[in-house]
Symmetry: C2
Subunit: 275 residues, 2 copies
């Protein structure tokens, strides 16, 4: 089973793929998120995995927009608690470090640590695991990398300082994508996107299709489309499976009340896992 993800071996998305699909998974690292969506759309027996939401930095709109541009289904999710550590080659100590490498987003998540501690160059690298690989391959004894403990062991680095993330309750939610729908009888959670008419009460009416049928809402977010700033769509997660008659009726009713509706998938609730 091949699962495409963005990044280098050892990236958080690869770990998420293993947690969701098991150790037998064949990971396919790709350069951009766009590539992951294209891969999953093209290879119908394969999957893609992408981060979609972070408890600190919010929804990853780049990927919610890519979801709308591809005919893919969400077939599963997993929430990964991100713990970030400062690591370097064995034998290197904190005082040897002149440069710290990591992904720009990871560097942002460790801003308090990086600003307060000591004077180093902070260098953005396009993959956290890519930085570890570079330090190992070029034997950089004056450089450190910030990433997950798992990636450290993958490249033989030693942890110099644990949990350098500014917020210790930092979770990322990953979703698994496939060209084929998941079995509609096993899902417990349904994700959808709709556009409501821009008149008072339109959103309230749209949500009433769930409220009137006692279907619980799990998430709602109005958002702008990339390229159309401040034009709003609604991302909604509700509890229940699409095979359920009540849910089918709610979705039919929602279709009457909205100008656009797409069901992104029905899938099992993801576990929250400490990396």
């Amino acid at each position: 089973m091949t699962v495409a993800y963005q990044g280098e071996p050892g990236a958080f998305s690869e770990e998420a793929a293993r947690l969701l699909f098991g150790r037998a998974v064949r990971p396919a690292p790709l350069e951009r998120f766009k590539d992951v969506f294209q891969f999953a759309a093209k290879h119908r027996s394969s999957y893609g995995i992408v981060p979609i939401e972070n408890s600190v930095s919010g929804s990853i709109h780049q990927n919610t927009d890519l979801l709308l541009r591809h005919k893919l289904h969400i077939i599963g999710e997993v929430k990964l608690c991100v713990q970030l550590h400062l690591m370097a080659l064995p034998g290197v100590s904190l005082k040897n470090i002149r440069s710290v490498y990591s992904h720009a987003q990871v560097l942002g998540q460790c801003e308090d640590f990086l600003r307060s501690r000591w004077r180093v160059n902070v260098v953005a690298y396009y993959d956290t695991a890519g930085a570890a690989k570079m330090i190992r391959e070029r034997n950089r004894r004056n450089s450190a990398d910030i990433e997950s403990a798992r990636a450290a062991s993958a490249y033989g680095l030693k942890i110099l300082r644990r949990n350098v993330e500014s917020n210790h309750h930092n979770y990322t939610r990953f979703i698994a994508l496939s060209g084929r729908r998941a079995d509609p009888r096993v899902g417990k959670k349904t994700s959808l996107v709709f556009a409501a008419r821009n008149v008072p009460g339109a959103l309230c009416k749209a949500l009433a299709v769930f409220a009137l049928r006692e279907i619980n809402m799990l998430k709602i977010e109005s958002r702008t489309l990339i390229g159309k700033p401040w034009e709003y769509l609604f991302d909604v997660d509700v509890e229940g499976l699409t095979a359920d008659r009540r849910m089918q009726q709610a979705l039919g009713h929602l279709d009457e009340l909205t100008t656009f509706l797409r069901v992104l998938g029905s899938y099992l609730f993801g576990k929250t896992i400490k990396d």
Copy 2:
């Protein structure tokens, strides 16, 4: 009139402050967002300005959470179209550049350009304008910076490549904060936060307080509290002013139906401005 913001002179927030408060503003650059909130809370005749939402990367939850932790009112907003340019000292050409500096978030927004063009070190700097200052002060002829055109002129840099941002429809919404409420008779938009009971229909009922009174919704987002991942609050913007009787009744009604409610402010719609 003093307006505190996060960053160095020439930062986007400073430009937003000038657009909102006029050229006579006295800008007070501070190191962290937290400092901006504290400054505005302490100096009642001064203001703070922070980015709260970006059309590409989504809501800035760090600042929405800081809003809840301080007794401040939103008194205005402005939307700034972010255009990013690669710039260096006069006389320097693209082929001389070995390092590109900018804020980690800005580097992320220019990822396509930085990955595709040529081999350079990409260095995260904690302020876009801080990188321009450093290049000027240290006369770095092999370095470039990515930032707004306005910051380039502030530090005497020349633009080497225009619009290197990956998405050319990149807007940031800034809000102005004060310890004093804005005149409740002039606002056209009201921002609030509430927590609804976690039962089916609770959100629908909460939104009905606006729908039943023909009050238009402008934004809704369920979100996790930092430190309490996956526990949801709702951020809502509605059309109308708090001095309006209908709005007061809606807010009173909402208070009956929610476990927590805070009105963040009533203010005029912000203009969208190309930097």
